[in-house]
Amino acid sequence: VYLKQLEVENFKSWRGRQVIGPFKRFNCIVGTNGSGKSNVMDALCFALGERAGCLRVKHARDLVHGAHIGVPVPGAAGVAVTFCEVPGEEEEEEEEKTFSRTITGDTSEYRINGTLVALSRYTSELQRLGIIVKARNCFVFQGAVESIAMMKPRERTQLFERIS
């Protein structure tokens, strides 16, 4: 399985619908200070089910474009992530799967390939692909590197609990 592309719609500094990608094996996101790089990581984490508190805002509605200056844009806001499953021996096509999350007020709606699903199903389908968002074992947020090394012994035990 690999990450093919992201589609952001009115999410933080990303106005309207924009596609981010395609992603190769080793990708670097570059750009000037304050241009919106970390907002791309927030978009990806948001789509996988991360809560607002980890995305540098207090409420989900603050993620809408313009909310940070009090003028959130009307209309839909959300993020869709497309994964591709590498074809096995007998299969022909690469099978694509899109997970998308939209912001409606302070709640969210979750869809897999366009069909509305409950959060529990959304998370279990992601877990089937090896993505355990709660364990946060595949994200390192800006500025967090050193505190990972300096975790207290107890915190490290909790990290192992979440993964096992």
């Binding site: 080793f26 090896g130 993505i131």
Partner: protein, 161 residues
């Protein structure tokens, strides 16, 4: 439940030392995870220590900023190797690294991204992002407020510097 914990712990203990040696490109480097309570590790804390190349065993507090960053990356990669996620996202993890360590980390990532996991890294340093397969350039547009736009560039046709 305790069974699962011990299984995970044993796996990561072995993996972290191998990964730290590969990140430092030096077999004398060592990384240890030691439980405060060896009988039942899940009941108390777990200590983490690293011996960076050319140095002696010392508490993690005494390491420098760059040395701590390498130690943290080894832990993150080792924990992930127990239940590998298909991709990794890291935001400016190279901030405290000097150019030599950037070289070591990027070559480790290039090796791993071929086999195991896909890598998405936000970086400001040319020494780092010049090693990638593809660049996603974010730029701001100002018309009243600021909004972000993106360009993508495939680097694979160009020789690696």
């Amino acid at each position: 439940r305790y069974q699962l914990f011990s299984q995970c712990f044993e796996h990561v203990c072995v993996a972290i030392d191998q990964i730290y040696k590969r990140l430092c490109r030096n077999t004398s480097a060592q990384a240890f995870l030691s439980p405060e309570n060896p009988e039942e590790p899940y009941l108390e804390g777990i200590n983490y220590n690293c011996v960076s190349p050319g140095k002696r065993f010392m508490p993690m507090d005494n390491l420098s900023g760059g040395e701590k960053s390498i130690a943290a990356l080894a832990l993150v990669f080792a924990v992930n190797s127990y239940r590998p996620a298909p991709f990794f996202v890291m935001d400016e993890v190279d901030a405290a690294l000097d150019n030599t360590n950037i070289g070591k980390v990027t070559s480790y990532i290039r090796e791993q991204s071929r086999e195991d996991f896909q890598m998405i890294v936000i970086s400001l340093k040319e020494e780092f992002y010049s090693q990638a397969d593809s660049l996603l350039g974010v730029y701001p547009e100002f018309d009243g407020g600021m909004c972000s736009h993106i360009l993508s560039l495939d680097l694979t046709p160009f020789p690696l510097t």
